[in-house]
Structures are given as C-alpha cells and as structure tokens.
Symmetry: C2
Subunit: 105 residues, 2 copies
C-alpha cells in the first residue's frame, strides 16, 4: 500500500521547470528529440536525462524510428496523473466527522 512513493514518482515529472517546458512542447503532438533540443537551452545529455524521467513516470512515451525518437504525451499516463491528483486532493468528509477536529484532547 505504498502508493505514495510510486505516486511521488509520477509527480516528479512535473516538478522541474525544463520538464514542464518539454511537456508543453509535446502538447502540439509528437516531437523528435532533436526538435526539443533546439527549443530548450540545455545540452543533449541533459535532455536525455529529462526524457528518461518523463518516460519512467509514464507521462511521456517514446517511439523509435530509425535514428530518431519521437516523443509524445501518453494519454493513459497523463490521465492517471490527473486521476491521482484529483483523488488525492478531494476532501471527503464522512457523516459523523466534524469539519473541525479538535486535537490533543
């Protein structure tokens, strides 16, 4: 039941500035790594590092074609992230639970 560690990994995809830029570039559809590299001001090995994290999180998928790799946003992955975030932040007050709980009593 240690989803927490696993879910934290998913959200790690989104907690870096450059990874957000990458995801944002993929909004327009599949993009080759070299295009991403052109748009961002990071070196190639750094991009590769970020793409690994994004793919590991499930939010992005890569498709190899010859020399190139085309990355795109995974519908399943991003919907999982969305669902997880919603479940995590939705307050569920049960009937017998007071809105304000007194502590240390």
């Amino acid at each position: 039941m240690d989803d927490f560690k696993a879910n934290a990994k998913v959200f790690k995809a989104f907690c870096d500035e450059n990874r957000l830029r990458i995801v944002s570039l993929l909004k327009g559809g599949e993009q080759c790594a070299c295009v991403l590299l052109d748009e961002l001001e990071i070196c190639q090995s750094t991009l590769s590092h970020h793409m690994k994290i994004l793919c590991d999180s499930g939010v992005v998928v890569g498709r190899k074609e010859g020399k190139w790799i085309y990355y795109s946003i995974s519908q399943e992955g991003s919907q999982f992230a969305l669902r997880t975030l919603r479940e995590l932040t939705t307050v569920t007050l049960t009937g017998n639970q007071k809105n304000i709980s007194r502590c240390c009593e």
Copy 2:
C-alpha cells in the same frame, strides 16, 4: 511568461512521499499539526518544513487557533493544480498540423 518555474513549484508539493501522506491525511478534513505528527514517522521540524512547502504551493492552507495550527486542503489551490495539469497534458492538434512531424529536414 515564465509560468514554468511557478508551476513546477506547485507540483513540488506532490513529488515527495511524505507530503503525499500529509495531503492524504487532510482528505478527511482539517487536521492539527500535532495529529499529522502522530501519524507520520518524521520529527517535528521536518513536518514543519513540509507544511511550509505545501502552504507555499497553495495546495494547503493553515489556520491558526491559539497554540495550534489547523491545516486543510485548499479547494482553490488544488483545483488550480488540477487545471494546470490538465492544460499541460492535453494534446491540442491544430488543423494544419500533422500528427507525426518529421524532424531535421
């Protein structure tokens, strides 16, 4: 237009295991910090550190009452996070754009 850095900060709230546990504990409603401390296996200063990050991200709000601080999930904050995540991961293919873009040509 550097939303990226700001948004990364929001998602940082969710990229740590213990912070996910804290948010999860707040799903049931407002909780005093000392209750959170009881549930988690971290020391008080560490909890305080995490609460600061959660509050700074806007996902959690604290309400002071006497000696205690009651934390709860912010509806505005978490909905902002949800909306941002959705906007970030929604693929928007424009009409004249091919699904597969050839690169390096």
